[in-house]
């Protein structure tokens, strides 16, 4: 990741506002961010800071109110299979089986010329996320962790350059979450993907990221970018580099703490008004 490397995703002067009745809510302001190819970037911020909104903008699902989003220097025009998405609530297609969910992207018209190697490719992915034997199950028969693994395999099936993940482990219990973080670490080590990952968990951020982008309370701005100068294989972080890991956690806690306080004050304030 040399400084001269061309960014894969560029955000310049991004502003996003929503209309809530006759009130205009400013969600994001002055976002400038470059993401390099192969980088694992975590967007960290208090709830309601607009970090998910920023992710949806990068996915092409929302349009910015001002500013420009580029991929490989080209302006983004809507969603694209080069930028896969994984959502907190999995967003699986409930009427399709595990296998059909994973294969979905490759059954679409744009992927016609890829259909050749499809079956093997899908089998491999289903195996990789540990769901062999569940190919014909439908999502409602799976646990939360398994559903999210289907969603991850579905996103990887089309081989996107960038994977955008919106609090993907937020709906899982602590133990499943732990396992999933490790699995994602393994995927990030094995596949040469650019990953942009939204969370409000500081340990999750330090565990996975190359860089953590800390955002302010609403309207979301970039408060600070913290590089995580640890090797990517952090399976045994406690033994291998426990001190540095906790130092980084402490630093992020400090940065985030004041923002969480701001959010709390604002919520109390608006509570009084109502």
């Amino acid at each position: 990741m040399s400084a001269t490397q061309a960014p894969i995703i560029t955000c310049r002067g991004i502003r996003k506002q929503f209309q809530d009745g006759d009130r205009t809510v400013l969600a994001l302001q002055d976002i400038d961010l470059d993401v390099l190819p192969g980088e694992f970037v975590v967007l960290l911020g208090p709830s309601g800071c607009g970090k998910s909104t920023l992710l949806y903008l990068m996915g092409g699902h929302l349009a910015p109110s001002a500013g420009a989003l580029r991929m490989h220097g080209e302006p983004m025009a809507g969603p694209s299979p080069t930028r896969g998405m994984v959502f907190q609530d999995f967003a699986l297609f409930p009427w399709l089986t595990v296998r059909e969910n994973v294969a979905f992207g490759l059954t679409l018209r744009w992927a016609r010329d890829r259909a050749g190697a499809r079956d093997e490719h899908i089998d491999k992915l289903v195996g990789m996320v540990g769901l062999s034997g569940f190919e014909t199950a439908k999502p409602h028969h799976l646990s939360g962790g398994m559903r999210q693994r289907v969603a991850i395999a579905r996103t990887l099936a089309t081989d996107p350059e960038v994977v955008l993940m919106d609090e993907p482990f937020g709906a899982l219990d602590a133990q499943t979450r732990d396992g999933m973080q490790r699995e994602l670490m393994r995927i990030a080590l094995a596949a040469d993907k650019t990953i942009i990952f939204v969370t409000h968990s500081i340990t999750e951020a330090v565990l996975l990221a190359d860089r953590v982008v800390v955002m302010t309370a609403r309207p979301g701005r970039i408060k600070s970018v913290v590089p995580i100068d640890l090797p990517r294989a952090r399976w045994n972080w406690r033994n291998d580099f426990g001190g540095r890991f906790l130092e980084l956690v402490g630093r992020l806690e400090e940065l985030l703490g004041s923002e969480i306080q701001k959010t709390a004050v604002e919520e109390r304030g608006s509570g009084k008004d109502a």
Partner: protein, 250 residues
């Protein structure tokens, strides 16, 4: 057999009560016994009369029903997915929905004559409402993230409609079709009783004039069984295609 009895014993109970009541009344014009009705039904089947009236009625009902489905499902999808369609059609649908369709039968006869066309149009006019409204609300309820997932996997708008919006709304669409089926029968018999020379509705009216109450009941029973069978058929399709929905919500 045991499960059959446990599932339908209420029907058997009503039949027995009816039989007893009819025996007490002892007046076949006022209230014939179920066994007498069954005997008349047997005669109507043997003479081929029932098949004739049933087939013409079914042709009218099923034609109207299918037209309602063919026109109603796309309209409901467009209204649920596109704001401009919603804005255009919503007031029209809401305004005309409460109009009693049976009250329109004389008008339809005036405009379209007394043949099959006016009856099929009548059924279409009434049955399309539940199809449109159920499809519309099903499509409206499609979670944004599911659509976004598909878009991120490279789905075009046409693919989103065909592969995401339609299957997601299908349980609701089928509910709408069930309601439409019931309405189709009701409208059909009303139309046949006002202007027809054939069909089960006409048969009822004719038998009433002849004071042939057992035939009235026999026709009503045929209608009930037909409606029941069609409903079960749609329900079976729904269970087959929408197991993800029925299993999740039960």
């Amino acid at each position: 057999m045991r499960t059959f009895i446990s599932r339908y014993y209420s029907v058997l109970l009503v039949l027995v009560a009816w039989e007893i009541a009819a025996l007490v009344v002892n007046n076949a014009v006022f209230l014939p016994t179920p066994t007498a009705v069954a005997a008349v039904l047997g005669q109507l089947v043997m003479s081929g009369e029932l098949a004739e009236h049933t087939s013409i009625s079914m042709f009218r009902a099923v034609s109207g029903f299918f037209l309602a489905a063919i026109l109603g499902i796309p309209l409901g999808i467009a209204m649920g997915r596109y704001r401009s369609w919603e804005n255009f059609w919503n007031p029209l649908v809401s305004l005309t929905y409460p109009v009693p369709k049976i009250g329109l039968i004389p008008l339809f006869i005036l405009w379209l004559g007394i043949g099959n066309i006016s009856k099929i149009a009548m059924i279409l006019a009434a049955a399309i409402y539940p199809v449109v409204l159920s499809t519309y609300s099903g499509v409206k309820g499609t979670p944004t993230y599911i659509v976004w997932s598909a878009r991120s996997l490279g789905a075009s708008e046409a693919e989103v409609l065909r592969k995401i919006v339609f299957p997601y709304a299908l349980p609701h669409i089928l509910t709408g079709l069930r309601l439409a089926m019931g309405i189709s029968w009701i409208l059909l018999f009303a139309a046949e009783m006002i202007a027809a020379q054939s069909g089960l509705g006409w048969l009822i009216l004719y038998a009433e004039r002849m004071l042939d109450t057992p035939t009235v009941f026999a026709s009503l029973a045929t209608i009930a069984v037909l409606g029941f069978l069609f409903d079960r058929a749609i329900l079976a399709i729904s269970h087959r295609l929408c197991d993800w929905y029925t299993e999740r919500t039960s």
